[in-house]
Amino acid sequence: MPIGPYQRPLAFVDGEPLEYEPPIPARANRPPAAAVKLSGIQKQFGDNRVLRGVDLEVPAGQFLAIVGKSGCGKSTLLRLLVGLDSQTSGEISFKNGAGAEIVPNARIVFQEPRLLPWFTVSENVEVGLGDGVPKNLARRQAEAVLAEVQLREKAGEWPARLSGGQRQRVALARALVSRPGLLALDEPLGALDALTRISMQQLLTRVWRELGFTAVLVTHDVTEAVHLADRVIVLDEGRIKLDLAIPQAHPRRHGDPDLAALEGKLLSAILGES
């Protein structure tokens, strides 16, 4: 895949050490994953205090899942992370693997794919590169990423002709094409059927291990969180209630008893039984 001077500069610093050893051989030009630090984050909408002091550190390259009841502030937290909203008080800072302050190349995937219906699949992915990338280079990069999400042959189709899962894969490809250092996922699999979800989970795990970005997933599905993430936090009434590491190696098996035990622990924390 051609990668060069046209990439967003923040996404690429050559030879940056990564914090974990990926099992899949590293690509020549890998973007540095962004480490995130939140301190004392509060967010208010009018009188409604959605976030009431969140302190959280996410090391570069970690896959973090945020779970909680609806209205617990998890989506708000995610929107703050990618700069779609600004916090009422508190601070968010980003560092690269070497500890230097950076403005991260952050991308977000929503529950609905939000593809432009008047652009072909490949043109939609090119949107992810921003303006100023030569057309033929953008096309090649888009097709390379589409190949990664197994939609290479759909490059010329209209989004209206794809299934829900395929559309969400295009949205993922659009987020990945600029090689983000931080990928925010706002219930990206929420609207998909059970089988499509499983294959999307496998895809997410694969691209995350391959590309090494920091991932923050918001979900209400505890099974999904436990299956994908290194670490799960439970958000309750605007505060972190539980912070749980998921040490199991990838790829994880559905129905693993250790994972099921962790899942039970999370569920009782969410439902307030402990």
Partner: protein, 280 residues
């Protein structure tokens, strides 16, 4: 012969016939919309030939065709159609551009909307043909008067539909565009304009109807060329066949404009499932 063989045999026998049947059924679809007009013209011709309709009141279709032939040969028809067509297009271009730009501006900018929308909505309720006396006082009976009226007529449908289209572009898509670094022109070109396009086309097709209507009226009142003038001159000489011919030409031009707009629509909106042909 077993049952299976019988079925296989009948299927084989039916195959070529099945293909032959498809073609007429396809052309039937193309032919059916024209069946009623053709029947009306035939009945009209029959009534004229039988002497039930006076030539003074309604000429026979054959007479209209003859009139067409005469006017076409003299070169007058081509000239008048060209003059009327140029007026229509210029009016559409001027009024359409103003309506389009105002629609975009008011759809995108809150300030612009607050400044001009109320005024436009008030002006819109005045029937533009009611302004003919005033327009004649302003411009006399020259080209300006016709262009002014046509422009004014097409301005509002294009304005309203463009504004509506821009306002109804999916907010989520605009947010997505902003996340991916689009702003200003790039956001307009990639998200807002394509999103508003289906609605803009509705406005355009509506404006085309108003365009011809305005032109016909203003050409009949005062003109020294154009189809309206041709019809008016013919009226003075009691040439009903030419008067009817003028009507037929207006109908044909109106249909042509609509076909062009529709083709454009289908071509630019090919991404929209509503415009994709079934099975394509």
């Amino acid at each position: 012969m077993t049952i299976a063989e019988a079925f296989a045999g009948s299927r084989e026998a039916r195959k070529p016939e099945g293909r032959r049947i498809r073609l007429p059924s396809l052309s039937k679809d193309a032919f059916l919309p024209y069946l009623v007009p053709v029947l009306i013209v035939a009945a009209w011709q029959a009534a004229s030939s039988a002497g039930w309709i006076s030539d003074r009141i309604m000429p026979a279709p054959v007479a209209v065709v003859r009139a067409f032939w005469d006017v076409a040969l003299s070169g007058q028809l081509a000239y008048d159609v060209a003059v009327s067509g140029a007026r229509a297009l210029t009016g559409l271009l001027i009024g359409g551009s103003i309506g389009f730009l105002l629609g975009i501006a008011n759809g995108v900018s809150r300030l612009s909307e607050q400044l001009t929308d109320t005024t436009l909505q008030m002006l819109r309720t005045i029937p533009h043909l009611a302004m003919i006396p005033l327009v004649i006082l302003w411009f006399g009976i020259g080209e300006e008067a016709k262009l002014f009226l046509t422009s004014l007529g097409v301005l509002f449908p294009i304005y309203l539909n463009t504004y509506h289209g821009v306002r109804n572009v999916d907010r989520d898509l605009i947010e997505m565009g902003r996340i991916y670094g689009m702003s200003g022109w790039s956001l307009f070109r990639k998200v807002i304009f394509p999103g508003a396009l289906p609605s803009i086309f509705v406005g355009l097709r509506y404006a085309l109807g108003i365009m011809w209507l305005t032109l016909i009226v203003s050409e009949s009142i005062a003109a020294s060329s154009g189809i309206g003038h041709m019809a008016n001159t013919a009226r003075e000489f009691m040439m009903t066949d030419v008067v009817v011919l003028a009507l037929v030409i207006y109908a044909a031009l109106g249909k042509l404009a609509d076909v062009i707009a529709r083709t454009l629509e289908r071509w630019t909106l090919s991404w929209n499932v509503a415009y994709q042909r079934q099975g394509a």
